[in-house]
Amino acid sequence: MSMLQSVLAANGDVAGFFRMGGYAAYVWPAYAVFFVVLIVDTVAPRLRRRRVLRELSARLARQQARQDRTGGNSIPSPPSP
């Protein structure tokens, strides 16, 4: 009998589905690991993309500011401590 049949049967054995024939302690953690790892794998590059773009626009703004300022590289003068 498939799991669906027992779930849909008259007594509605939904708990039986979660019991997994006594192997719940092994089956569900396995599925949990599967989904958690893949979700992390999906989210990580999205976060990274946002960070990269933020750094990039900051860099562009800095370059813009430097171009606006006049002047080349000034030679450091000997200090007077």
């Binding site: 030679i75 450091p76 000997p78 200090p79 007077s80 401590p81």
Partner: protein
């Protein structure tokens, strides 16, 4: 700077020599260095300049002769914090940035009044390289990071072993400027160098190493 004996020279060597395997490395030296003086240690390659400076810094023990600091025999603690030594090896950690390296130096030696690490690094010509690991700097930039200690740390006597090597012309002028203002402020310095270095202020005292 508390001078125990105001008339005595800062540093005085009498028949000083260093022994390696019981043989003197250089002929006995006699010299005096007073506050405000600059001494140029001259000699060919291998004549013992580095050895002399390391001895003055307290890294090597005096072989024969005598070394006096403000008139007293030189001992480890009597001149603590008054001597700054810069050798062939720069004493920078390659994995730390110039800023971090200087912070450590200031932690060990204490800082000069009014000398901030960022300002010192900018003065020495490392603006923009403050937070780069030292290992990624060019040879001259590393040298500058080491020289920044001169600006940051308090000391009476500077012992500089070939401070000009690897520096460009701006850097050489910078070191000369540093030496001038240090002696003007009453400090003293001993410098070894080979290049045709022209000091601004007068003729320095010369110490020749004879082989």
């Amino acid at each position: 700077m508390t001078a125990e004996n105001p008339t005595a020279p800062l540093l005085e060597a009498r028949a000083l020599s260093f022994l390696r395997q019981d043989e003197p490395v250089f002929a006995p030296l006699d010299f005096q260095l007073r506050a405000g003086e600059l001494a140029l240690v001259e000699g060919d390659n291998g004549s013992g300049k580095t050895t002399l400076l390391r001895m003055l810094a307290g890294l090597l023990h005096v072989g024969e002769g005598e070394l006096r600091w403000r008139g007293e025999p030189l001992q480890r603690d009597c001149c603590a914090g008054e001597i700054l030594f810069l050798g062939h090896q720069l004493g920078l950690k390659a994995d730390l940035s110039p800023r971090e390296n200087l912070h450590i130096a200031a932690g060990l030696h204490g800082g000069r009044d009014g000398a901030g690490v960022s300002a010192v690094l900018a003065d020495i010509g490392l603006r923009g390289y403050e937070d780069e690991p030292v290992r990624r700097l060019s040879a001259g930039q590393k040298k500058r990071a080491a020289l920044a200690r001169l600006l940051l740390l308090p000391a009476t006597l500077w012992l500089l072993d070939e401070p000009y090597a690897n520096l460009d012309r701006v850097g050489i002028a910078l070191v000369n400027g540093l030496l001038e203002s240090h002696t003007d402020a009453g400090g003293a310095a001993m410098v070894t160098s080979h290049g045709a270095v022209s000091f601004h202020g007068g003729e320095p005292r010369r110490i020749r190493m004879h082989e």
